[in-house]
């Protein structure tokens, strides 16, 4: 294979989860997936383990694969883990004097829940002794009656530096109106502490409402160390190994960005893995002609769900991390602590529980033999016989069934007086219930009936549980996609390049004197879009631009989307938008609702640049009518969780199931890096896209 042909050939999507690093290599001949353990000490090791596996499958060398790759897109759980566990760099805050308790007040952390028992004080993201008040003040009109007291900054930085602070969040009121105090603070800070990381609230999230701006800044500081290490490790190792293509990082809002861009704002990588999965599921469902799907992705530490109605991914705006508000927008995914690594335990009432605590990948489940002692969901699957300990990840990792059984015996079975198998089946059921409850949150609780939705189940571990989860929800069928185990990685390759640029302009649309200013802003945003695209190896001709705005009646707080022509705005546009606005508004909210005596204002203007990425080719084949059931490759003794009895059931090899083939449960389908369990009397059919489809 020459360099010439391979450089046209490969693009790589990778999803680095808490436990596994999943990879999809797209080439002219289709998709190849691979999997390795995530290596938290140096993420590039796990990535190259996965590359080596993929290269092996493709029959080329690692260097050939890397050298021939033109696009390498990463999604990862690194930022999500850092902020949800509040673990990362030691952060110090400099804040406007008088407002030290802003993080404690947290805009009033009262949840919209009647239950007073859940009304708890939010966690401390920054230790209180690492928050320093600084004399300075900017006002609503951008004036600054109180100058920055520079000596206070110096003294505060010295104290914080001595406490071991690595990353500083500069959080001044109204700083987006006048950034000079925050900027000057950075200069002084770096004189005192040159190696420090400094984030300014006016740069990270230059938007009104200090709680969101400050928390976004602090979370960016907190996750900065991990994000930088991650980006640098991947970049350095790929470069060293001869990679010359475009390297980018997937964002929680969908679309990818350069390493420098995500290092400057690590929070853009929040929830990037789940976002990749949602994009992939939407693309696959569209191919299959489905409109309404529920999505489940089970990883090592968490279970992510989303609901796509008409295949529209919902955007969660200004997401909260627990009770803490941020200004970050992401594709809406609900995540609960229910993964293969979720730990089983007995609560104070003597009731067994699974999760939310997780064994992660270190030490991992007991069966990994890395020092884990508390049984996890994966240990239960091994004990039940659902996973073959000798053939895990195609035999690359030997799992210790005896150790898993001993742990379940010790922690669950013995205290409850159960057999080990019954205890393992109990853990299996609890994992199923946890996942079904999460799916209820995105369906029933939002007014959607899950019985009208297909359940798309992916992620390495979910194949064992998917049918039981769907049965509990009443979903009519389950789709376990081809490449299920690396589906988020596939999703990042399916997603278009999308970048959106927003600016607050507050334009009273009838005011034609503002038109030149608005067009200047549009030009600036378009130039920025082109510059960013160039960093990702794209040119102007690759991009489609569109413009939209958010409008409201002056005095309102929320806006609605207003269509704008894809060209510079004119005075006539302003006049007609202004007079059309009441009818646009009443289309959204009903007749009689348009405000009176209040001019229409365009608050924000957005430029969106889209590159329709060529979609990787995935395999397809017409189903063979009445395809015979293939011979089982082997059989195994399994303690059937739904029947609570031991049975010897057939194991089918994925490769023997051509489109049109049906197999009836109880049976197991071995897909190599994932295992599908078809429970008693369920029927699984391979469809034309090589998905496994189970009717409930």
């Amino acid at each position: 294979m020459t360099q010439q042909t391979t450089s046209a050939g490969f693009s790589i999507g990778v999803d680095i989860g808490g436990t596994h690093t999943d990879m999809i290599v797209a080439s002219a001949s289709g998709l190849t997936r691979s999997k390795a353990f995530t290596t938290h000490d140096d993420y590039s090791v796990g990535v190259f383990d996965a590359i080596a596996v993929a290269a092996d499958t493709l029959g080329i060398t690692t260097d050939e694969l890397v050298g021939g790759c033109h696009a390498f897109i990463n999604s990862s759980t690194i930022v999500t883990n850092a902020v949800t566990e509040m673990r990362g760099a030691k952060v110090g805050v400099l804040i406007t004097r008088g407002f030290k308790d802003t993080f404690r007040i947290a805009r009033g952390a009262r949840k919209a829940d009647y239950d007073d028992h859940v009304q708890t004080t939010p966690p401390e993201v920054v230790a209180r002794d690492c928050i320093e008040e600084i004399t300075e003040r900017v006002l609503v009109d951008g004036s600054s009656p109180v100058a920055l007291v520079e000596d206070e900054v110096r003294a505060a930085v010295r104290r914080l530096r001595d406490k071991g602070v690595e990353a500083y969040a500069i959080c001044y009121l109204w700083s987006f109106n006048d950034p000079s105090h925050e900027q000057r603070t950075r200069t002084i800070l770096l004189e005192e502490h040159p190696e420090a990381v400094v984030m300014l609230s006016c740069e990270v999230h230059p938007v009104i409402r200090e709680t969101e701006r400050f928390f976004t800044t602090v979370f960016n500081c907190l996750s900065h160390r991990g994000a930088t290490r991650f980006v640098d490790q991947i970049t350095a190792e790929l470069t060293r190994r001869g990679f010359t293509g475009a390297l980018s990082f997937f964002q929680g809002i969908g679309g990818s960005a350069s390493g420098d861009a995500v290092k400057a704002k690590p929070m853009t990588m929040l929830a990037s893995g789940p976002a990749g999965g949602v994009m992939g599921a939407a693309a696959l469902a569209a191919q299959m002609g489905l409109k309404d799907i529920l999505i489940g992705d089970m990883g090592g530490t968490s279970f992510d769900t989303a609901l796509l109605h008409n295949l529209e991914p919902a955007i969660a705006k200004r997401v909260a991390i627990g009770q803490l508000q941020t200004g970050v927008d992401i594709i809406d995914v609900v995540s609960v602590g229910a993964g293969g690594g979720s730990l089983a335990w007995i609560d104070s009432r003597g009731v067994p529980q699974v999760g939310p605590h997780s064994a992660g990948s270190m030490p991992g489940p007991v069966c990994y033999g890395r020092g884990g002692t508390i049984p996890a969901v994966t240990d239960a699957s091994i004990v039940l016989g659902l996973i073959d300990p000798g053939n895990y990840l195609k035999g690359r990792h030997q799992l210790d069934r005896a150790a898993a059984a001993a742990a379940i015996e010790e922690v669950i079975a013995k205290p409850l007086g159960w057999s080990v198998e019954t205890a393992a089946a109990g853990i299996f059921d609890l994992a199923v219930i946890n996942m079904a409850n999460a799916l209820r949150t995105v369906s029933i609780e939002r007014g959607y009936d899950p019985r009208a939705f297909s359940f798309f189940a992916y992620g390495g571990g979910l194949g064992l549980f998917a049918v039981e989860v769907a049965r509990r929800l009443g979903c009519p069928n389950v789709v376990i996609p081809d490449n299920s185990s690396a589906f988020s990685a596939q999703g990042v390759l399916m997603a278009d390049y999308v970048r959106q640029y927003n600016r607050t302009i507050n334009w009273m649309m009838s005011d034609e004197s503002q038109v030149p200013r608005i067009n200047a802003v549009l030009d600036e945003m378009r130039a920025q879009a082109l510059a960013d695209a160039a960093n990702d190896g794209l040119t102007q001709s690759d991009l489609e631009f569109s413009i939209s705005g958010d409008g409201c009646f002056a005095g309102q707080v929320w806006e609605i989307t207003v269509p704008l022509p894809n060209r510079p705005v004119t005075a006539e546009d302003g006049a007609s938008l202004s007079s059309d606005f009441p009818s646009i508004y009443e289309r959204a909210y009903g007749p009689g609702t348009a405000w009176r005596d209040s001019p229409a204002m365009l608050v924000n203007i957005s430029v969106r640049a889209v590159y329709r990425r060529p979609k990787p080719t995935s395999r397809q084949q017409d189903p063979v009518a009445g395809a015979p059931t293939p011979a089982a490759v082997s059989s195994r003794e399994v303690f059937l969780p739904e029947a609570r009895r031991l049975a010897t059931i057939p194991i089918y090899a994925e490769a023997d199931l051509i489109p049109g083939t049906k197999v009836t449960g109880p049976c197991i389908i071995d897909v190599g890096d994932t295992t599908i369990y078809v429970p008693t009397s369920s029927v699984c059919e391979r469809d034309r896209f090589f998905n496994f489809s189970v009717s409930i």
Binding site: R97, T102, G108, A109, D113, D115, Q119, G590, P591, R596
Partner: protein, 732 residues
């Protein structure tokens, strides 16, 4: 509703349906939030939406303000009292803001009722209610301390048809615009409420297209039955018996200081209960309670403490009888009594007194879930102001209502956690404390500081939540007039099960200040450099005058504690001291926690201090040691017909009597005790002082209950288990 229906319907069908209706109410709420221009709606979430059926029974409620649960029913009933069903047309809307005639909580909270039509028939009613920035009259933003009757308070809309064909009628538009302070904003907010109702009507119509009216009704009834059943189960967890307490509404805003007695009796009988209130005669000021506020604020308690997990619909109401006693009292006032503070004066007391009474019952429950619901009271003093003037930035009239100052009071301690800081009032579920930048945009000045109030949280094994202190300098108006309010300046929020009361709230007006002098010198007016003349003010006034440069500052109180503070984890106390939320001397006085040179718990000194405090409580060394694993949140128990201390098994006399006769009681004036612990409270002057009675177990010195009452009052009542003894002067 028969049990048969439930049996023939799939439980998942019912659940999906009731969640869908709830989702519609939420969508109405989101529409209101997205279209409103009032920060009271968009930031403080002071609104609710509700869907009711043709029989005026609730189907779903998106209540950020929980007390609106009663107003939705009252509002629709008022519409149907004045209008025949067949007289209603699509797009009709009725304004309801009068507690006496149209079910509102107070006149500032304006409800819009609209019938929901499907194929020409009324299938449901929508109800949207928000605090509008003004409702006219002498009340600025709906609070009228100066009024002597409801006619001089505000415009009173008695379920009148102001909206036809989804539009405000032009004559009404002109009339309302001519009578409210902020014509444009108030009228536009009414349009937003039409938008919210329209959103609900469209969703109901599409649901009925799918399932038809018969199925819709069948599922609604089944959902109500499910909620009723769950509510009855929960009530069954409370021991049968009679529980009671009394409290006082403070000062009516004029003349000499007075307290108005309110009493509550809870009678639990199997799976149902009767909640009774009685009170002093109604007064001629805005503090009077009326049915919507008294029942609505009872639901604030019930929803947070007892049925927090049960879907809200009419089924919740069925096992409960509310009895407000004879008309003409402060808990059941008659027109023309003024009522603009109905919800925040008598209503807030009702809310707190029911928390206390319910906690007594929960503490004696054998059901671990119910027993865990013992809670301290939230402070909810709500020390704030509303005022009217001209905004110098725009030249337009403006109403100032800085919710972030008065709202963030501490929550009551819970058995599972300390109370939430910035909890606000219990009825304000999900409320935000608006950001400084939003306040400085909408309010006429600068927020000078905003911080957690030190030493105001009630002590306990779990302490109350902490309130926030803040200050607003008036900058963008030369002269504003209005009212200042504080409903809990004299009587602090109570703790439960031996937890201590919390500091009360207070507001202060500083005039002739050096604010602009300081700003000219480039100095921010922080508390240490701000100077001015403190104007003596009553706790509430209708004569508040704010001039440019004046500073209105607030200390918000904390919540009551739960459990004896001597059982609090010493390291939690040490952290509060290090963080500056509790003073070191208070840590030692109330909690017996002593810190070492490194600001960590000094274990030996703490043990010694706690031993010493127990000795001081009894005047001698205790004969018994409390069980460290004892039920600290339920320190009183009943066994073999006798009360006993559950921490040391000391006998406290026959169960038919009051256990307080068998304990060591220390009575002290709250003002004196609070001075020692730096907690805020107003002295009562010539009135009988407010006293704290600490009741200690004579065996182990554990604080069993810290009662708050007036000097000279009888012993606080003990629960009477197994005895059903309601007040007999029944409701009129």
């Amino acid at each position: 509703m028969s049990a048969g229906t439930e049996a023939t319907l799939d439980i998942i069908d019912i659940e999906v349906h009731s969640k869908s209706i709830r989702n519609m109410a939420n969508e109405m709420a989101i529409t209101l939030m997205r279209t409103s221009g009032s920060p009271v709606v968009t930031e403080a979430l002071d609104f609710s939406t509700c869907i009711l059926d043709r029989n005026v029974e609730q189907l779903a409620f998106a209540g950020f303000v929980t007390f609106h649960i009663s107003t939705a029913i009252g509002g629709v009933k008022a519409v149907l009292r004045g209008h025949a069903m067949e007289d209603l047309r699509p797009g009709d809307g009725f304004l309801c803001n009068d507690p006496h005639t149209s079910g509102a909580i107070h006149q500032g909270d304006l409800g819009v009722v609209m019938p929901f039509f499907h194929n020409g028939e009324i299938v449901a009613f929508g109800y949207v209610n928000e605090h509008v920035l003004d409702a006219g009259g002498s009340a600025v933003s709906g609070f009228a301390p100066a009024a002597h009757d409801k006619y001089s308070e505000t415009l009173n809309f008695n379920a009148v048809r102001v909206i036809r064909n989804y539009q405000i009628e032009p004559e009404w538009e002109s009339f309302i615009g001519n009578n409210v302070r902020l014509e444009r904003i108030v009228l536009n907010d009414i349009r937003s409420m039409i938008a919210a109702n329209s959103a609900g009507e469209r969703r109901i119509q599409s649901m009925l297209d799918d399932i038809g009216f018969e199925r819709f009704t069948e599922l609604n009834e089944a959902a109500k039955d499910l909620s009723e059943k769950a509510m009855r189960n929960r009530i069954s967890g409370l021991p049968d018996g009679t529980y009671e307490s009394e409290d006082w509404v403070e000062y009516d805003g004029r003349g000499p200081l007075e307290f108005f007695n309110v009493r509550c009796r809870l009678v639990v009988d199997g799976d149902q209960m009767t909640i009774q209130y009685r009170g002093d005669k109604q007064t001629d000021s805005f503090i009077n309670g009326a049915w919507p506020a008294v029942v609505g604020q009872s639901w604030s308690t019930l929803l947070s403490q007892l049925c927090y997990d049960i879907p809200v619909n009419q089924g919740l109401w069925r096992p409960i009888v509310f009895d407000l006693g004879p008309k003409g009292s402060i808990v059941n006032s008659l027109p023309p009594s003024p009522v603009t503070q109905s919800h925040m004066e008598t209503g807030m007391r009702i809310n707190k007194i029911l928390i206390e009474v319910l906690s007594q019952a929960c503490a004696l429950s054998t059901d671990p879930v119910v027993a865990s619901r013992v809670a301290g009271a939230p402070c909810q003093n709500l020390a704030f102001f509303t005022s009217f003037g001209v905004d110098l930035r725009t030249g337009w009239p403006t109403v100032a209502f800085p919710v972030s100052l008065g709202q963030p009071c501490g929550g009551g301690a819970q058995t599972v956690t300390d109370g939430l800081d910035t909890y606000a009032a219990q009825c304000m579920c999900g409320c935000n404390t608006p950001d400084v930048e939003m306040e400085e945009t909408s309010q006429p000045g600068y927020i000078l500081w905003r911080r957690i109030s030190r030493d105001q949280a009630g002590a306990g094994t779990h302490r109350g939540g902490m309130g926030v202190s803040g200050a607003l300098a008036i900058v963008h108006s030369e002269f504003m007039t209005g009212g200042g309010y504080n409903n809990a300046a004299y009587i602090p929020a109570r703790g439960a099960s031996g937890g201590y009361p919390s500091g009360a709230g207070e507001w202060t007006l500083l005039t002739d200040t050096n604010v602009f002098e300081l700003l000219e010198q480039g100095i921010w007016p922080t508390e240490d450099v701000l100077k001015g003349r403190k104007v003596p003010q009553p706790a509430k006034t209708g004569d508040l005058i704010l001039r440019r440069g004046d500073v209105f500052s607030v200390i918000n109180g904390g919540g009551g504690g739960v459990g004896d503070p001597l059982f609090r984890d010493p390291d939690s106390v040490a952290k509060d001291i290090r963080d500056g939320y509790v003073s070191a001397d208070v840590g030692e006085l109330l909690y017996g926690v002593v810190l070492d040179a490194n600001q960590a718990t000094d274990v030996a000194a703490t043990l010694a201090a706690r031993t010493r405090i127990r000795q001081e409580r009894l005047g001698a060394a205790p004969a018994r040691t409390p069980d460290p694993a004892g039920p600290v949140f339920a320190p009183l128990a009943v066994a073999e017909g006798n009360w006993k201390c559950a921490m040391c098994q000391h006998d406290l006399g026959p169960q038919v009597g009051n256990w307080r006769t068998a304990v060591v009681t220390r009575e002290s004036k709250v003002t004196e005790r609070f001075e020692e612990i730096h907690a805020q409270i107003r002295p009562t002057g010539d009135l009988a002082p407010v006293v704290m009675r600490e009741n200690f177990c004579p065996g182990c010195a554990t604080a069993l209950s810290v009662d708050i009452t007036l000097a000279g009052r009888d012993l606080c009542a003990a629960p009477r288990l197994g005895i059903l003894d309601p007040y007999l002067d029944a409701s009129e």
